[in-house]
Symmetry: C2
């Protein structure tokens, strides 16, 4: 006689359904075969939100929003006066993004709710799936607006007059988005939360390279964004002698070389990227008048991060030869560590499902960073192909996505029933 | 008894009229107080052409054009079967240009025609004032399209499908321009020409610094334009380890450093400018996928210019680490020397007017470069403030502009009467 194991909740995760939902979302803002351009508060973002709301209504879930248009899909618990357990991520993408970054955390959360329905499981606390507004910050800077306002780290007013590159203000895009969503009138999801868990593709190569199912995320490396502006004098490229040149491009290259020398230390943990540069007037035979570029600097160690940030400021303070130079810090986020108990809960959920795990810090910033300041937080990573993200080539296996959703639902149930 | 000197033709140059015409032209495409944005075949270029045509009609001059919309204002001579003497420059400006570059050569030529009328002087040959189409090349690349087609160095067909940054094709802008100009039906201005003289602000600091009235231009330095494209792979700035990065910006900075090392030789004659750079996707937290930049390289010595151009190609051929690199040559123009007889004619005209002169090569490319390949050619430079050009701060004194027009009319009369 063989013993038939009793069905686990995680067995009700439906890999095909989860994959189909990803493909349905990827059709909104699709570019080329596999790319997605679904920037924050755009027509595409709104369409994706409305599709999620439609799915939520079919399941009878509550749908809520707040002043910055964070979108909450709530599956009630036995006692809805208890603070909710939340999970989620974001719907918006990079201008040339992929099909999994952000949206996976939302869809894995939604799959967890459907899985609980299908398994006939009630929880003590309500569980909320959240799509945080404007995580990417590529249309409206800075990033992680929705989660930072929710957590009280930033004020909505700070962002309302931010404009996109076409000059459209955030407050107008926000109003359009809020008007477009069919939501319930009252809020049940607000701080404090019982806990927050975010599922995400790793966006790095470690899990795939080592053949690991689940990354148990221990924290998030710190990040600083700088915008350096060099001001020269536009003049004719052919007639202006060296002594008369204030060439903003030449000065920008010099400044970048000095910054590289100060920062590129051979330490694999130091991440340094110049991703944006704008040149005025940007004409081949005119010496550049203005060159503006960004620096994205990351490190898991707060002291080292601060040292490098100071080096960037010192280099700017030292001037740029015949040109002017200014340095504006767009974003400063120290590294964070998730509570040991939360990390353990994720890890033991994965282990109970016979999935292999490693602990690792997150190389990317996530909405979880802000949630970590107001409630116990952790994250679940799943492998993605070649570690590629923010790119149409971004890919994650359906089975890997489903593994993450299984760990997520097991973790959520424990948290929502106070079993950890 | 005092001898009253007989009036010279050049005394009929009207400094106020010439200045006023500059200000009238500067009002078309004005940016800020002193800037001009009057790019080739734009609405502003067309409006400026129409104003010149209106002035020409009031004087009874012929107005002609050709297939690339070069605009000719012709003052007939005694024998109009003789090939014309031509003078002129261009009406189009840089996107952020000034009030004198190009337009001065057109207006000095027009002033010379009016001066001949006012002095009651006839010439043997007709004299044509030309506005060459698209000298700047900032809207439609490459530059000097009109003069290169006129001189047979390039074919109109090569340019018809060139598009501006908004995707508008040149053939459409050309058709609109041709339709807008009220011109006479038949052509009298076509190669061969008897001679070509172009008046221009120096666009460099030499004349002003030395207090010289007139620069007698001996030739034009050579110029090469390259477009370098680096192709990487866009990926997340925070999660992608160094070993997995194909960072097009990092590779572009490396390539630029190698080029600078090869080219910046301390020789004041070597002019090297990176004036345009475009980054895709141009987002702070995404590693750049494509970086595209131009190199403008100039030298008066053909051998040295070729050596440096070869160095740029070698650097591109050597690759860009994990990224792809390609090098496209957009423009290659060897240095040219003007005929001694033409240089002498300009110099003696200036000397006869008691104006101080020096001989110097042109640092900028001009339409005169192409004319020099089909007829005896020279140029007249006048001082401009601080040598600044391609900039709203560009300025030339009214008296300096008038000096140039005086030398021009004396030179034109000699050439049109076969007196040199």
């Amino acid at each position: 006689m063989t013993l038939k194991p009793s069905p686990r909740i995680a067995d009700f995760v439906d890999e095909q359904r989860l994959w189909r939902r990803h493909m349905d979302m990827a059709a909104i803002g699709a570019i080329g075969t596999d790319g997605v351009n679904r920037q924050a508060l755009s027509r595409e973002d709104i369409a994706a939100r409305c599709m999620l709301i439609e799915w939520a209504h079919r399941r009878g879930y509550r749908v809520e929003t707040d002043s910055i248009a964070n979108l909450f899909v709530v599956r009630p618990g036995r006692n809805n006066t208890l603070s909710a357990v939340a999970t989620g991520s974001h719907i918006d993408s990079q201008p040339s993004g992929g099909r999994f970054d952000g949206i996976y955390g939302v869809l894995a959360g939604f799959e967890a709710l459907e899985c609980l329905d299908d398994a006939g499981v009630e929880t003590d606390r309500p569980i909320a799936v959240v799509a945080w507004t404007n995580e990417e910050g590529s249309r409206f800077a800075p990033s992680t607006m929705g989660s930072s306002v929710f957590a009280g780290a930033r004020q909505l007013d700070d962002f309302l007059n931010v404009t996109d590159s076409g000059g459209a203000p955030l407050h107008a895009a926000l109003a359009t988005t809020l008007d477009s969503m069919a939501v319930d009138a009252t809020y049940t999801v607000a701080p404090p939360l019982k806990a927050y868990i975010e599922a995400h593709i790793e966006q790095g190569p470690v899990l795939e390279a080592r053949g690991i199912d689940i990354g148990v995320v221990t924290g998030i490396q710190g990040v600083r964004w700088f915008e350096i502006e060099i001001t020269g004098r536009s003049a004719h490229a052919g007639t202006t002698p060296k002594a008369n040149r204030s060439d903003a491009m030449a000065a920008a290259i010099d400044a970048i070389n000095r910054v590289r020398l100060a920062i590129e230390d051979g330490d694999e943990r130091t991440r340094f990227t110049i991703g944006r540069m704008e040149v005025v007037p940007n004409s081949p035979n005119t010496i550049a008048e203005i060159v503006r570029f960004t620096i994205d600097l990351r490190h898991p160690d707060a002291v080292e991060l601060e040292t490098y940030a100071n080096a960037i400021r010192s280099i700017c303070d030292a001037g740029a030869g015949p040109c002017g130079i200014s340095c504006r810090e767009l974003l400063s986020q120290p590294p964070c560590s998730f509570p040991e108990l939360m990390v353990d809960t994720v890890e033991s959920a994965a282990t109970s499902l016979s999935l292999s795990t490693i602990r690792l810090p997150s190389g990317a910033m996530h909405d979880a960073l802000f949630l970590a300041s107001i409630c116990p937080t952790s994250m679940i990573f799943v492998p993605c192909r070649n570690g590629v993200s923010h790119n149409p080539a971004e890919f994650a296996e359906p089975s890997h996505l489903a593994n993450g959703a299984r760990v997520l639902v097991e973790t959520l149930v424990k948290l929502a029933n106070n079993e950890q």
